[in-house]
């Protein structure tokens, strides 16, 4: 319900904003890149020009990126383009190496299934509950005497054999479905989901989450022009979302943003396209490679935090 009402609300707001904010948006298009002037429909002054001009793509960082635990043989090499959200068209600003044991593992669909089922189940509480014969009203009196009537012997009208009797082995909620997936399976699930997304061309890497305009139409146009599909998941290392992006995403329910520590298999599969920033890629690789290469046992007994 919350999701629905958010959608309706955002539709109303976006139509209103279309009338008010479009001029502003196209100004920032103009100042961010000159080629965009043809696609924008406005010609008014810019107040965001300083901020737009101040966004610099850190190409040095893209070029100098080094892999932790570099792969042992060269046929494992996996590369990806780095694009930017600061321009509408899909300009490539660099190319980076991705770690093959994070982004190039075999597509284990069974592992993905295990992770999805676990995420759906572990926080689910089953509240279904039916009454037993003891909880039903009445039924204390023997309906007829034991012998002599010619009928079957019965002691209670709420016996499970009776119509409108109590349930013999019904659900007795609330029941917790909590269980913990083995740690190695969870790590492999993240690696598999990232690899599958990359192999299907549904994972893209951008330099940062900077966008020049807070109008949701800018993001919609960007996603449409790059054929990123219906839904979008943006992942950054930082859990503070830039103000413009936050304002834009507030009005588009199918586009979401998430910090790297919240990345999970369910969300990656729920959204059609996953967009990682360069910092997020580095963070994800660092954390997953730590678990792949750390000393001692990876699988440790899970204890609920008390």
């Amino acid at each position: 319900m919350a999701f629905l009402s958010k959608g309706v609300h955002s539709m109303w707001r976006s139509t209103k904003l279309l009338q008010t904010l479009l001029p502003q948006v196209s100004q920032s298009f103009l100042c961010s890149s000159s080629e965009l002037s043809s696609s924008s429909n406005s010609e008014s002054e810019s107040s965001d020009s300083l901020e737009s001009a101040s966004h610099v793509i850190d190409t040095e960082r893209i070029r100098n990126r080094k892999l932790l635990y570099p792969p042992q043989h060269s046929c494992d090499r996996i590369q990806s383009w780095v694009s930017t959200l600061s321009r509408l068209q899909d300009d490539k600003v660099g190319i980076i190496d991705l770690h093959p044991s994070i982004f190039g593992v075999h597509p284990r669909l069974d592992i993905i299934h295990e992770n999805i089922k676990w995420q759906q189940k572990y926080k689910n509480i089953d509240f279904s509950r039916v009454r037993t014969r003891a909880e039903m009203p009445g039924g204390g009196r023997k309906p007829w005497r034991q012998k002599g009537t010619g009928r079957a012997r019965h002691g209670s009208i709420r016996s499970p054999l009776w119509n409108k009797g109590g349930a013999a082995k019904g659900p007795r909620g609330p029941t917790s479905n909590f269980y913990m997936l083995p740690f190695g399976i969870r790590v492999l699930g993240l690696r598999t989901a990232l690899s599958c997304k990359l192999a299907q061309n549904d994972l893209h890497i951008v330099d940062s989450l900077y966008i020049p305009a807070e109008d949701p139409e800018y993001l919609r146009d960007l996603v449409k022009s790059r054929a990123w599909g219906y839904s979008l998941l943006l992942v950054d290392d930082n859990d503070e979302v830039p103000q413009r992006l936050a304002n834009a995403l507030q009005q588009i329910p199918e586009y979401n943003v998430m910090p790297a520590y919240g990345l999970n298999v369910y969300s990656m599969l729920k959204h059609e396209t996953v967009v990682l920033t360069l910092s997020a890629v580095e963070k994800i690789e660092e954390r997953l490679l730590y678990h792949l290469h750390r000393s001692g046992c990876v699988q440790q007994k899970f204890r609920l935090p008390l």
Binding site: Y69, Q72, H73, C75, H106, P107, R108, L109, D110, Y290, L292, H293, R294, S295, G296
Partner: protein, 167 residues
């Protein structure tokens, strides 16, 4: 309590506040040092958080006394399959036993590339090395799981075969 990170030089002060050091042991004479140069000898004793990488061949003569050898890319480069070592630089070969019967099988994991070519090579190896003519070489190829199971205990034979191939 002892240390937070090996790079931080905050350990000598925290040693003083350690509960084990606050009471003097009567039988041993010791002194407390704050010298960062001496801390590296303590670091040798602390457990490592990461498995260290293989030292270069200049440092060691292979095979080591235990028989361990590193991977040799020049040997396996032309093969259609590849087997990566485990994080502890060991061969990913295990002897497993079924829970419902004493049947043992050899599990070969971490396979990438053409798994069927490796299966054919292993079958050929075991056919050639079998002593009992009635022994039947049975293998299972799990393509999505990237592993091969061989009936029987053949870990040493297969490990030596793979080391010869350069893995």
């Amino acid at each position: 309590m002892l240390m937070k990170s090996s790079t931080d030089m905050m350990m000598p002060t925290s040693i003083l506040s350690c509960k084990h050091c606050s009471t003097k042991h009567p039988n041993y004479a010791y002194e407390v040092s704050k010298d960062p140069a001496e801390w590296k000898y303590v670091e040798h004793l602390l457990p490592k958080s990461f498995v260290p990488e293989v030292p270069g061949s200049s440092l060691h003569h292979y095979p080591t006394p235990s028989g361990w050898v590193p991977q040799q890319e020049e040997k396996y480069a032309k093969l259609p399959y590849y087997i990566s070592r485990t994080k502890n630089h060991q061969m990913p070969i295990y002897i497993k036993e079924r829970t419902d019967s004493p049947l043992k099988f050899t599990h070969i994991g971490n396979i990438s590339g053409n798994i069927w070519a490796l299966d054919a090579d292993i079958r050929e190896l075991l056919e050639a090395s079998k002593t009992d003519p009635n022994y039947l070489v049975l293998t299972q190829v799990h393509e999505p799981g990237r592993f091969i199971r061989v009936k029987g205990v053949h870990a040493d034979t297969i490990a030596q075969f793979l080391i010869d191939k350069g893995f």
